[in-house]
Amino acid sequence: MAESKTGPAWTGSYLQDYGSRRGLLAWLTTTDHKRIGLMYMAAMFAFFTVAVLLGLLIRLELMNPGMQYVTPRVYNSLFTLHGVIMIFLFIVPGIPAVMGNFILPLQLGADDVSFPKLNLASWYVYIAGAILALMSLFVGGGVPDTGWTFYAPYALRSGSNVSLAVFAAFVLGFSSIMTGMNFITTIHRLRAPGMGFFRMPLFCWGLYATSWIQVIATPVVGITLLLVIMERALGIGFFDPARGGDPVLYQHLFWIYSHPVVYVMILPAMGVISEILPTFAGRTVFGYKAIALSSMAIAIVGYMVWGHHMFTVGMSDTARRVFSILTFLVAIPTGIKVFNWMATLYKGSIRIEPPLLWALGFIFLFSIGGLTGLVNGALSTDIHVHDTAFVVGHFHYTMFGGAGVGLFAALHYWWPKVFGRMYNRKVANWAWGIFMVGFNLLYFPMLVLGIMGMPRRYADYLPRFHGPELVSTVGSWVMVSGIILMAWNLVRAIKRGAPAGDNPWGGTTLEWQTTSPPPQLNFAASPSVTTGPYDHTALRAAAAKEAR
């Protein structure tokens, strides 16, 4: 392709190479937000696959009481790696770095993010962090075995390679910060003419709230992890009781970041749902402002509840009460979102397509996750369920059933835009069905186990827990089948799928106004905006005209 890529006349798809660089090199040096998004996707799913395998191994070991396949030491490393990879490499960068990068500028009507080079740099930092994390498996005193929380003083004593793993998390934090800075600036500066803050698609609102959390909370965990490294290297004693340090302070600092970060996972996913529902209901969203502002409310209140992870560590009783009440307050803006989503379906004209099914799956699974969060948030019940399988059930429902399913919904919604091709919708529906069954078989028993008193991070367990553990393991196989089917269907569509057309779902936001896949500069002509984001009148008029 010899055309030069300088004038606005160039309209080839972003997937084609242009200019002097070709092939892999063109990808690795690109500053195109769409390509960077796909690069994130490739890297992320590679790690996700690893972590999934670890998760399956965990389940295999827990299928029966007694140790069958691995030693306790290995089991401990399994859940540590599973947690670290899933959190830091998969679900935190998940929707923002993949779908956010791809879709945000398109939805704003911009031709890239504000700092394209920084965007590329953040990908490299992410890869660097991932490599460090993988290195921690092979060098030094063995695979880390502390759990993803790296609690002192165990993490200070463990002979395993904790320092490197912690450093990896530290580096990954920077990648997250860079993405956040980029998105905030982009949203402030590059909205299309006519697009005020309150005409911005709700996915952008979700990302906006998320980005603020990334920018403001991540540095705190950065410094905390740095202190852990210093402590292991020099024995400075900040968290070591033997030197007057306070292990509870470590937990405070850790959760000051790590609670807000759960909203980094979920807010963009909620944004995705807020996009999908109006599109498939063929009507405007219900309570736009409430949904938009509740994202900000969740982000802000979410800062103030971290202590609910520490109800049994011996915090002052006052602090426990304060954190409990604040925890309950977070549920309110979340509830507002759920109710507005339901109302968006009301009197719609609904088409049942795979993205909508995934969105409904999200609402169902995330509600279970969130509602079990209330059991965790209430003081007396958390005393019982803290650090049991109940909490494991809670966070898989929120993180996987919520953020993870949100990502799957986003993939199904935007896949035709990203690659210009449509996957097989029947297969997609089947994959969804299998997934939903498997998911509940896998994680619901954990809620039961927790109530029965089965602690988490147990390599072995008492015989009375056997029943639910067995169901859960079988569930994991069902769910895997669903996900493999889904992944196969999506990957196949990239090459073999039927051309999707520019606007296969009848979406109203700006990304549907450009071609699929979008051209290099996103829009042939810079779009401008005169209505709210979910105004279907123009589309309906066009459809009516065609019908006539």
Partner: protein
């Protein structure tokens, strides 16, 4: 949110034209005065801590230090001349930090 954005007048317009910075430079004298004030306030804290060690010294430091910070922020860092958005963003960042620190002390200073 450059002021115009709230009305939806268009970020792109800003990016094309209004995006270029052109403040009238602040007079040198203003900066020198701020500097003198900063040095003086430093001396005040030091003097207080030497002559009234303990509560008073600490109290003075707790009042004066934020004033010094504000001087730097407003003049040296130009916040005084920026749009409202920058000040709001700064205040929220600092506000969150203060809030978090305060909440931490629910654990340490209560039973």
């Amino acid at each position: 949110m450059h002021d115009s954005h709230a009305t939806g007048a268009g970020a792109h317009a800003a990016a094309h034209g209004g995006g270029h910075e052109a403040h009238a430079p602040v007079p040198t004298g203003t900066f020198v005065m701020v500097w003198v004030a900063l040095l003086a306030l430093t001396l005040v804290t030091v003097a207080a801590s030497v002559w009234f060690p303990g509560k008073v010294g600490i109290g003075v430091a707790m009042v004066v230090t934020p004033i010094k910070a504000a001087l730097i922020l407003m003049w040296f860092m130009h916040l005084k001349y920026e749009t409202f958005v920058f000040r709001a963003m700064f205040l929220s960042a600092v506000g969150i930090l203060a809030l978090v620190m305060g909440l931490t002390f629910f654990d340490y200073s209560f039973l």
